[in-house]
Subunit: 96 residues, 10 copies
């Protein structure tokens, strides 16, 4: 089941640089593991923003919530979720 | 080059049903031809809305504009465009 | 899987009264059949508004979309969908 | 009498972790006691958000206010209240 | 139980003047009867607007909804409802 | 002359509790003195909010401003003012 | 007593040109008579808009409302009113 | 050339009181000197707000910017600028 | 003097095609004449929108207003004006 | 390829003045180098704001993102990007 997610990141200025770097590294590993698993289908950077549009393919709302709240940067993010489905004009067989 | 596009469709009530059906059929053919060409990479329906999130892969802004204003439903759409780029955490080799 | 839905209804003034009455009667029957089936768990009127908050329990996003776009009043509605999940403090066993 | 309530929680970063944990534990106990009493009919987590949609069944506006301002997390919440009533299409006998 | 209500009126231009006048006369009678009954405690005009702020004192949400949807001008109004209660600093004995 | 005022209070977390309590006590006394004088006609709590709707009856805009900026909590408030007048449907003789 | 007023004019396309011209002429005469009387102190056009910022000097809210609702273009206007007072830094003796 | 300016002031709580008082005194002197020169034609307090509506008469956009960024309180202000011109219905000979 | 202008065009569906074509042709000639004169320095299409960002270089606010309200499409446009000036980091000698 | 960019700058009060001055000096050099290269075609100050409208001419979205996130003031900026293209009425040969 597909979900469109927008994530806006805002790391507070007073977070020590080393701590920020560590969280960002964990975030990257976390994201790439989920991409490898197929659950995080796409991630694109939005030009000029510390933000991304992503596409998740999960079992249900609960799994989506678990993945998003597990993001190492979650507490510094504003997140918007939109449920998607196959578009009747899509030519893709995997609904995406 | 990738662009994120949201399209909201609002067909006026006084458009004759046959005319509406014809435009919608043209829209589908137009969309599928662009999907086949690779320029319209993805199209997803937004749950509960007559709207979609789409991903375009075009040469430049001008080509994107030409494709969007060529949509048979263009005059009944509200369109929002967001320029995208490869996310540094993406594992995809085709930037998507 | 649970979804929170807000529906705002706006029936155009120039819709003939008999046609409006017929659509509203169909809407009621449609809603009650879905409530009986358990897919439309709750519907509450919002005080002072021609609007409701509803709770759907469906298999996936696609089923939700099918149910919503099948509403006899769909073309006169503004709809907002929010995916929900079991709250960790909930005492209910059916996640609702 | 039914009320729809949205609660968005935002715990400040500088709140000591132990203090936060204590407040969250109290919040859970407080919520579950009210659920047991029937006054807090439903609570659902919103996917991807530290937020919930809830349904309260209270005697009057004053009781609702007393319950909400008594929330251990109240000072870290943004709260929106919407008064509800039985929908004419509802099939439930307890107005919900 | 007290509710704060804002009503914005927008009578369509194509409503025949005689029909508009009749509805407005009915609205005034309806409002004054409810004021006499004590259920519509206050009504104030907002300067420069075809709008009012009102205060209702009703048994519950359902009665408020019944009174508001019964307004002769209801279909030409945008209505916002806010539930109120006695303020701890109020010196009034009737909670208003 | 009547004015509708909405006040939203937001006391900063780092204000010492004793200082906050003192300001709140002064606020209550200030409000009640103005209510006694007839200048602050009504004050109602908004359910679920640290906010109120109030009605002032003052000589002119300048007096309203003086009263509002004199509020002990003024520096922690967001205030919105709307000028009111007698509604043509009102049955009250004192314009309220 | 001073009020700041913003007026946005939107004359419907289907209003006959002669009728529009007549209303606009009446509006000008109405405005200039009130300017002569001193009640409409200032009127400025907003660049690029069919809109103005105005300053009224009236006895009270009721008089302001009477003047604004008497505008020949009133039914085609969106109006916003802000109550003003003498600024403590003003060097003018007439409070403006 | 005339400009309409809205200024909202928000002095941070942690600014020492003596420093705030000094800046406010400078602001008043700065404003009054510009009023004397005719460049700052009007300043009015907005009722209930730490804000003002002002009218500037300057040579060009650059001069307006210079005057506004020179305000002692500039770094604590939110400023909105609207370019104005003589209204065709104005009876004033000095375009104001 | 420089102004940034955003124009959003919305031609009503019931405008006869020949009339629309005539207005659009006049708009183009009008725009190009002003571009030749140097008063309309730039015009760019916004991707996916029937809208443009433009830059005007005019004597004053009044001239800008005259040029904008003279647009053949003016009555079908929503226009936003922002006054600009030379940026201190600009390397251009003509302030642009 | 052209992009319209709005940048709003907000330097935190607690940034040491010398550090701020150093960043601002770097920002100016960075901007002027990009202007010299032709990639940052225009930069204009918005009157009364610590903000600018800019025009970039870059190879693609990725280059735009690289230039913007490389801004010395980037972490203190709010940035909005709009993709542009040649307007059909433009008389310029370089698409601008």
């Amino acid at each position: 089941m597909l979900f469109h997610v927008r994530m806006d990141v805002n790391i507070p200025r007073d977070l020590p640089a080393s701590e920020a770097a560590e969280i960002i590294a964990k975030e990257k590993a976390y994201s790439q593991a989920l991409q490898e698993s197929g659950k995080w289908r796409h991630i694109w950077r939005i030009a000029g923003q510390y933000a991304n549009y992503s596409l998740f393919d999960v079992k249900d709302n609960a799994e989506l919530h678990e993945l998003l709240t597990g993001l190492p940067l979650f507490r510094f993010m504003k997140i918007e979720v939109t449920p998607l489905l196959r578009h009747p004009s899509s030519i893709r067989t995997d609904d995406t």
